[in-house]
Symmetry: C2
Subunit: 422 residues, 2 copies
């Protein structure tokens, strides 16, 4: 083999000190816990079956998890008992074991929830905000105010929480806890996790919007039935999350899955990232409003926040305005192209479309789906299922809570616990 | 959560009867074997460290693997002994445990190798062929002839082999053993694995070119040092393979990673798959030759197989012909776009560019790499390494042998063995 090596820059100063453990290295104890968590209620024998391990190992590990107060036994419903002829005992996560908060910061509104260890909602709060980037101090002020408010609503003290999950839009390195860039932050390369943790007096995990929705699906939605799926979010930008074997896949540096910035045209439309031809520059809010400003002569007549302009554009399209229709039509075609690329690359069983814009039904109109099918490589395989989940804002915060639960689980039952014990 | 479900076709008649076991379910015994295999020679204590398990478990499992004749102890080199003050014993795969053959069928030439269980080459043979699609019978005839020839060269009988790996270009469902479409086969939906197995009297595994190269890298190349990397191949088409946690990622139906058919322009250039705007339609052989036929007025002056035409185009470009240069330049820009998309989606540590066309250095010229960097989302992260591996034909066959070894390993030490034992 002849090797011509061309290194494009060095990997310096970015590697985490403790590399994230690979999937195969997840301890069985954690796998057992996660299987129970995903199932909601499940019998030990089923856990053993699902994980291809002996029932004896499962019994040992679940006893340990019950002793630690993380799992609990639940009597099966009476019908099940009667049908099987003996009382069945199911396992479930013990809700009271821990409380966590999830907070989602966005350009328009900040929202927060408190949930228990089983993910049940205890309280939710939302506060509108003036759009624009904040300094780190302003952002932490807003976060602290909101957190205190949601804790009050849940009737708990801040100190009762075991962890806080914090979601922001933009490019976030969840593992390092750094925000490389976000529309809600004036600065770049902000060590947000550490700063928020110091301010709130809690362990804080951060991540971007798309991963929050994906985590929410993994913990409370589609993930209860499947271990592998893709999530595509359309909001102000276009995001993607991918669940592989019950875990979010993040790439080697936690910065993968930037579907919105894959190029779909060489030297194409200008994206807010500064590059050209990104998928997002054809599909996201600002792309549509930009086109509307040209063809509908809006520069004089209409102005206002993107949401209002988009609403007006949607009204024009419904009223039959051809330029407005053409704008939505093209966005739909590019979305179809992006989804077809996801299928050609990942061959997923399921794609979930999520985000506020999902109520503009042009985005998943019949023609869009037909176009997507036409752009998926014809190999004779059936098309993946496409589901539309129109999440509300509090449910994004629920995703942030799932992030906190996820890390907490790692600490309590995962490799991080084993490392701490060594 | 409101769910509007839009199902695009049903998943019927395609699911494998036994679903491929997920990464987490790989038995520790298999993980131990694979760690030794990847390392070449390794001490037990290092295996335990790498897998985050106790040295005692590793000792138990390796004793079992040694008793089964799959691993063997190797005395460490004398210097190491002296340095450590006591004789070190390393583990390695026992080469004589099994022999396998790997065969790569292509449009131009068929090649085959015989390797031992440690992957050492015993013999290699290549036979040129007339281009074009074959009937299944013709293809099996060619395969059998070649197999007998390479066995003779290795001084073994066909029955001495434990498995055969068979690679063809096109859309291959490796798990089901079916070729959906291939340029070397006249028919579609051919159950090639079963047909070849019946003809050769050996277990036969099939896969596509890109996965063969990726497997070869995983077993004998980059995989010795890393568990995660991407491979992009440029030959008659453009392929991709992705290794995640020491395994090839294939998608839910084994048909993912079709980077060549991701769309990079809506309604763009016509691809040989029949769709428009595929990356391959801008980068692969036929795309370049198609353009050359227009601008260099070749329809009258020159004709012949793609390889010859491409060589002539390359000569024209080197001689300064502007149209020829522009053709290579555009192909290079589109390759840069495709690689940038791989980085934006997978965030890999390493991308290996492989395939015969790699000797046309325009493909990885400085400008191409600079353009790629310009199209990768600017998050402050360092760029992944890009390595150029110009493999010869026999080494593709070596990849087919790795496929056979891979399946054989599953049977001998993996979940398939545990299932058989139940």
């Amino acid at each position: 083999m002849s090797d011509t090596v061309q290194a494009l820059g060095d990997r310096k100063g970015c590697g985490p000190l403790i590399p994230p453990l690979s999937i195969a290295q997840r301890p069985l104890r954690q796998q057992v816990f996660e299987r129970v968590r995903a199932a909601g209620q499940i019998a030990r024998v089923q856990v053993a079956k699902d994980l291809s391990v002996s029932p004896a190992s499962v019994t040992t590990l679940t006893s340990d998890l019950i002793d630690s107060g993380l799992l609990e036994e639940i009597a099966a419903p009476r019908e099940a008992e009667a049908a099987r002829g003996r009382p069945a005992v199911l396992l479930g996560v013990r809700p009271a074991a821990h409380l966590v908060a999830g907070i989602k910061l966005s350009d328009r509104e900040n929202s927060a929830v408190v949930v228990d260890f089983a993910g049940n909602l205890l309280a939710g709060e939302a506060l509108p905000r003036r759009p624009g980037a904040l300094t780190l101090r302003e952002l932490l002020d807003a976060t602290e105010t909101l957190l205190d408010r949601v804790c009050a609503a849940a009737g708990i003290a801040r100190g009762d929480l075991s962890a806080v999950g914090l979601g922001v839009p933009g490019f976030v390195d969840s593992h390092a806890g750094t925000v490389h860039w976000s529309p809600v932050l004036a600065d770049r390369q902000v060590p947000l996790a550490a700063a928020a943790s110091a301010r709130l007096g809690q362990p804080v995990e951060i991540d971007n919007d798309a991963n929050l929705v994906t985590l929410a699906e993994l913990w409370f939605g589609a993930g209860r039935k499947r271990g592998d799926f893709a999530v595509v979010t359309i909001e102000h930008g276009l995001g993607m999350g991918f669940v592989l074997n019950h875990r979010i896949y993040r790439g080697s540096q936690g910065l993968g899955m930037e579907l919105g910035h894959t190029k779909v045209q060489l030297d194409g439309a200008l994206c807010r990232c500064g590059q050209r031809g990104c998928l997002e520059a054809y599909v996201a809010d600002y792309a549509l409003v930009r086109e509307a400003q040209t063809a509908l002569n809006w520069t004089h007549g209409e102005s206002g926040p993107t949401g209002v302009l988009l609403e007006s554009l949607f009204d024009h399209a419904k009223a039959g305005n051809r330029a407005a229709r053409s704008i939505f039509h093209r966005a739909g075609r590019y979305l179809a192209l992006g989804l077809a690329n996801v299928v050609n690359i990942f061959d997923p069983e399921l794609i979930i479309l999520s985000g506020e814009r999902m109520r503009y039904d042009y985005l998943y109109a019949k023609e869009t789906m037909a176009e997507m099918q036409a752009m998926v490589l014809n190999t004779g395989r059936p098309m993946p299922k496409v589901q539309i989940h129109a999440w509300g804002d509090l449910l994004w915060a629920h995703g942030a809570a799932a992030l906190a639960l996820s890390t907490l689980t790692e600490t309590l039952v995962g490799p991080m616990r084993e490392m701490a014990a060594q």
